[in-house]
Symmetry: C2
């Protein structure tokens, strides 16, 4: 019983910080997306392909979490947008406090889109709100189509499921329609995209999703407040 | 600080149960192996291929953990050995208490080899001793060769690394020698096998590893105790 109580207290503390982060993201008109998946599903590769086509000067920033190593930050820094590695030192998820601390050196007015790449873990990160506008869950076709049923929490909370590595479909026993049906069983409203960063298939649809969310975020904040549009 | 203290207390409680499990496994001459990997690395498929070639009547038993669903147990039950699903209901790892409870209906004298398939998670299960003789970590070639550096705890604690899905090597950018070097950097004593359950490649070596461990377990217990050999 003690454990449960303390866990609740930690989550509540996190919730308080996440609310504050969300308020600041809204105030600065930032689209914040929290990418969650198992290790090796392709979060870093998707972010590489995403950053590669943004024109220099776009206000994009990336926070990337891992238990150890700065490998992912090194990969993502090549695209000349600000990137920061959060090394959790063994902790199995990112939490609000880590995001808050990492953002301190960055003026928020210089960010339009903040990508957060969570620790590779399909379980624990789903319990920690980071103030993001949406969670995005990645599932690679080399895993298994029943993952949404086995790890329902993240599929339930995610706005978007990206099925990755679809170029490998001919070589693996993965029933993509069953995977989609399982995801929709857990979350009827989940949006679904299929991408391959190797062949580029589906990347246009992913970029369109992102552009739409970005436009909505800017519209959502500016409209009700009577035209406080963000300068680019 | 409170959180850390409670976590330590939980781990110590788990340690106490794990010691008791280990004592019982030794007393009954049981080889217990704890399989850990990310979701979708192929634990269930490896166990299916492993069970498929054991002669009926062998004293094999399987415990398989998941947050939700009994899918894995259903897959593994087809081989006519006793299988039990442990549904953790959202908990990100198996712990000693779950194993102890699951074993209650099974007379330990009917078990020679106990396979435990942990929850798909490369982080949290590594902190929970289940009384096993060895942890086995699986890494599929569709993940990334830097995983041992990013998730060092489990690679440090595992006796054996099984690189799975090697039939997919021609289609993925996975440097298998770098993966091995990274694993040995974290754990110089780790043994490494390469397998494909689709083609069967490497399965003989895996079965030989298992047979050797099994023989050692029976020898280790019977020799010092003066011939208390286990009946088959």
């Amino acid at each position: 019983m003690t454990v449960v109580r303390v866990e609740e207290k930690v989550l509540n503390e996190n919730q308080r910080i996440a609310l504050d982060l969300r308020r600041r993201f809204e105030e600065h008109n930032i689209l914040c997306l929290n990418f969650i998946s198992a290790p090796g599903s392709g979060k870093t590769t998707l972010l590489e392909s995403t950053l590669a086509v943004f024109p220099p000067g776009e206000k994009i920033a990336v926070l990337t979490g891992d238990l150890q190593t700065e490998n992912d930050a090194r990969r993502l820094m090549r695209y000349s947008f600000p990137v920061q590695q959060i090394v959790t030192g063994g902790v199995c998820h990112l939490d609000g406090k880590m995001i808050d601390r990492a953002l301190q050196p960055w003026p928020l007015e210089n960010i339009d889109v903040l990508f957060i790449e969570n620790v590779g873990n399909l379980v624990c990160p789903s319990s920690y709100d980071l103030g993001e506008e949406a969670k995005i869950v990645l599932l690679s076709v080399t895993e298994g189509e029943d993952k949404p049923l086995k790890y329902p929490s993240i599929f339930h909370k995610a706005a978007l499921l990206i099925l990755t590595k679809i170029d490998l479909l001919p070589y693996v026993p993965f029933d993509i329609e069953a995977a989609k049906a399982n995801a929709r069983q857990v979350n009827p409203d989940i949006e679904i995209l299929e991408v391959s960063c190797s062949t580029g298939k589906g990347m246009d649809e992913w970029r369109a999703w992102l552009a739409e969310r970005r436009a909505k975020r800017q519209g959502a904040v500016s409209a009700p407040r009577g035209g406080a549009e963000k300068r680019n």
